[in-house]
């Protein structure tokens, strides 16, 4: 049940690579469909979710936690959709949304800017406009990653492999990724499947709580759900009701604990 995420800039051939990898390995493929599914599930328009996962937060959004809420919705949906494995995700921020999962092969595809400009111009744009659009898009993604996750998306350390489509062709990159997917480190183990299930539970709990309690942290280990909240939050009837309903709906929760007065651990979602 390997999971492959392919991160790319616009017109970097990442889509073509993802489609060919999925076809060659017989895997499913996922990109913007994720936003439709998350939108249906949480009753949010797809455009709003798309904006939340692409554009850097504006001044007002920094205080209203809207990005945090929408990202929690997208993340919960993504983890559910990839939990069965054998899937290639080439949508936005896959490597960051799935960063807590082991056995995920994280690939970044980059390409020469001139080739990307030529690709963009095929849509009928002038060279100047095409270049400006590509640079603006890259800038938004960089700001988004910096603001939300405090990382630079161009940092190679975020990925397992970075492949430049220039000297290496799309087919070479596909061969390379397929070969890497068979590496032991990316083969799912029982531990990996369990961690995936745990993360899915934690993300779903967070998605339910985030709108009213944006600073809550959730961890799930072996089916034990630990929720980190402030004293004030944990004693509200709304909080208790959400937690009770969630526990009733998810039979795989072994134990639920609410911790108050503790700082949220770094590995919490």
């Amino acid at each position: 049940m390997a999971i492959i995420t392919i991160s790319r800039g616009s017109f970097s051939m990442g889509k073509a690579v993802a489609e060919k990898v999925a076809a060659k390995l017989g895997y499913g493929i996922l990109s913007r469909d994720l936003l439709f599914k998350a939108g249906d599930r949480f009753h949010v328009p797809k455009k709003t979710l798309e904006k939340a996962i692409h554009d850097a937060p504006g001044i007002f959004e920094r205080y209203s936690h809207t990005k945090k809420i929408f990202i929690a919705y997208i993340r919960a949906t993504l983890i559910e959709m990839v939990a069965d494995g054998d899937i290639v995700y080439y949508g936005l921020a896959g490597h960051l949304l799935l960063d807590k999962l082991p056995c995920v092969l994280k690939i970044r595809i980059i390409a020469n800017l001139e080739d990307r400009v030529a690709g963009r111009m095929a849509g009928g744009l002038s060279e100047q406009k095409a270049r400006a659009m590509l640079l603006a898009d890259a800038d938004q993604r960089r700001k988004w990653a910096k603001k939300i996750y405090n990382v630079d998306p161009n940092d190679a350390a975020l990925y397992d492999m970075v492949i430049c489509i220039d000297k290496l062709s799309i087919d070479d990159a596909v061969d390379f990724i397929c070969q890497s997917a068979s590496i032991k480190a990316f083969k799912p183990t029982n531990d990996c499947i369990r961690q995936c299930r745990d993360l899915s539970l934690a993300c779903n709990a967070k998605a339910l709580l985030v709108e009213d309690f944006p600073d809550v942290g959730v961890i799930c280990e072996n089916g034990n759900l630990l929720v980190y909240a402030t004293e004030k939050e944990a004693h509200t009837s709304k909080f208790k009701k959400i937690m009770e309903t969630f526990q009733k709906e998810n039979y795989d929760i072994y134990n639920l604990e609410v911790h108050t007065g503790l700082s949220v651990p770094a590995n919490a979602v």
Partner: protein, 273 residues
């Protein structure tokens, strides 16, 4: 036949992977051991030459700018000359910074793999400590590469591939890279060979010029060498003549062109005096 250039902050892993690939593909290796040969050929101090590959020019470090650039040009000229031989795995000589866009040269950056240091090094070394040391090394390397070749060594755009060794084992990386080297796209062609030959020629000319001159840029295409230099107007003809005389000693030049630019800053300073 292809050439593989490896670059990494983790010298131990870089060396291990380089040796293993060379052994597997029966390629020759070109690494730090080559420094002594270069030093012998150019009658340089071997230690100082190796030092020049790590530090930026500084009078305090007893490495003036002119000497530093000359040392780098010696390494560049010799490495490019050796890479013309094909079937080679090269690392530790900063070749990834001066071999650009040659289709039969695969440039790979190896990152991560700090766990292996943790296992092999001192017992009181923690992963955080190692990461701090590596980050410090990266900063100093970035400073060096920006001064020497005006590019950031860690920039993924410089490479054809970057492999993170945190999850991928060295043997798996060796296997993958060995397979990649067999891709037909990486076979040497007349065009790519000529491209590399031109770069080697430009590096040789630059090396000869930097021995006594400063501020020269050299490019070569199909045997035609273009030298661009800057000087004051009154020194123009003397500098051009010297360049022509010195560059004429290098074999393989079809035609030599010297482009001269006025050194506006010095001119302005002199006219003020």
């Amino acid at each position: 036949m292809p050439v593989l250039i490896l670059s990494s902050e983790n010298k131990e892993l870089e060396n291990k992977i380089g040796q293993k690939i060379a052994q597997k593909l029966e390629y020759t290796t070109l690494n730090q051991e080559f420094f002594s040969e270069i030093a012998h050929k150019y009658t340089l101090d071997s230690k100082k030459l190796m030092n020049a590959m790590d530090i930026t020019p500084s009078i305090l470090k007893r490495m003036p700018s002119k000497q530093w650039y000359y040392y780098l040009s010696c390494v560049e000229a010799e490495v490019l000359d050796c890479l013309l031989e094909d079937n080679c795995v090269c690392w530790g000589l900063a070749a990834h910074l001066y071999v650009a866009v040659v289709s039969h040269v695969l440039k790979v950056r190896l990152i991560g793999g700090h766990n292996s240091i943790l296992r092999s090094d001192e017992p009181n070394m923690t992963l955080d400590k190692i990461k701090k040391i590596i980050a410090e090394q990266e900063r100093s390397r970035e400073n060096w590469s920006m001064t020497a070749y005006n590019c950031k060594e860690a920039d993924p755009g410089l490479y054809d591939m970057v492999i993170n060794l945190d999850q991928v084992q060295t043997d798996e990386a060796v296997e993958t890279l060995s397979t990649t080297m067999g891709y037909p796209r990486l076979k040497a062609m007349t065009y790519s060979k000529n491209n590399l030959t031109d770069r080697a020629l430009a590096a040789k000319v630059k090396n000869v010029l930097l021995k006594s001159l400063a501020d020269v840029q050299v490019e070569a295409q199909n045997g035609t060498v273009v030298v661009t230099t800057t000087s004051m107007k009154r020194a123009k003809s003397k500098k051009i003549d010297t360049i022509k005389k010195l560059a004429g000693q290098v074999d393989g030049i079809g035609y030599l062109e010297v482009h001269w630019n006025k050194d506006m800053l010095t001119e302005a300073a002199m006219s003020y005096r």
